[in-house]
Symmetry: C2
Subunit: 198 residues, 2 copies
Amino acid sequence: MKEELNRLHKQLEFIHEIDKLKYILRKTKLFNSDRPENDVEHSWHLAMIAMVLSEHVNHPVDLLKVMKMLLIHDVVEIDAGDVFFFDKTQSHDNRPEEYAAAKRIFGLLPQDQAQELESLWIEFEECKTNDAKFAKAIDCLEPMLQNRSNKGGTWMEYDVSYQDVLDSKLIMKEISTPLWEYTKELLQKSVDEGILRK
Amino acid sequence: MKEELNRLHKQLEFIHEIDKLKYILRKTKLFNSDRPENDVEHSWHLAMIAMVLSEHVNHPVDLLKVMKMLLIHDVVEIDAGDVFFFDKTQSHDNRPEEYAAAKRIFGLLPQDQAQELESLWIEFEECKTNDAKFAKAIDCLEPMLQNRSNKGGTWMEYDVSYQDVLDSKLIMKEISTPLWEYTKELLQKSVDEGILRK
């Protein structure tokens, strides 16, 4: 029991720490709203999306693993902050502060769990496996749906072009034919309605 | 492809609808904060807690199922609202408006998925299986941790007694010996520090 309680105390420290993710705001807004979404709301929504859309993948995925990835994928932003996808002044790949954050935050857990979550986070970032590709596709889908429901949202606010948005969604093409068909249709409609510039 | 896109459109309608859960506020506050937690933040945190604490259960559980339950368990509150646990003026069991909400909201999905999520939600509510009991125990744990970090939080605000809180946590005893040991210790410390009345 002593060892179990020792592990439990470390796990509870992690549970307490990740509360801070509720304060990290994204650029995208809630559906039909001006209120920015926070990282926790975003992560919950992605896990829900994975849960209901997993039937559409072209190759089988491990849903539990995908959901874990999506729930934890932004935890590093507690230390490293959110970088807007279309902000070209900042690097998006393998930022050292994100790796340091993963070490510190997942490192609050017992070692075996710290390693598991850090590996899952790296797998998501590297985006080479089918599980990670599906997770990334879901991460691309939500802001597109939000911008569509918010009259262009961050596309209009940051003057992002149709081609830039389409290029950022190419992962969909690889992972899911129906999601890719839907994406092309949604972006074309957005151009037709004047909420995304060609 | 037509049938797949037909299913996808229904699923996306559900994904859009559940955004409303981000506006449903709970009585409990974030850790070390005066800001109320919303249902989505609560649900994300519970799924994260299940992920890191599942080793402590007395009987094996299906973690994917538990995480699904926790992510969806409050979706009905979009229509039915949040009822504070210690509010004794309102019924907490099988409220008809919650069942109607489950029918309406999960019913946006294709029929097979609507049935799956409605069944999961009912299993959670009935709390008879090990999966549901573990999920309920996690649902009991988070507000206790929040109140402890918020100098008594809703215990103080609503003048809840040690015995009432302890009684509300009995599910822990059944599902996890380490969590029950920790719960008793935390509540006793809270009494000793004057943030929970005996």
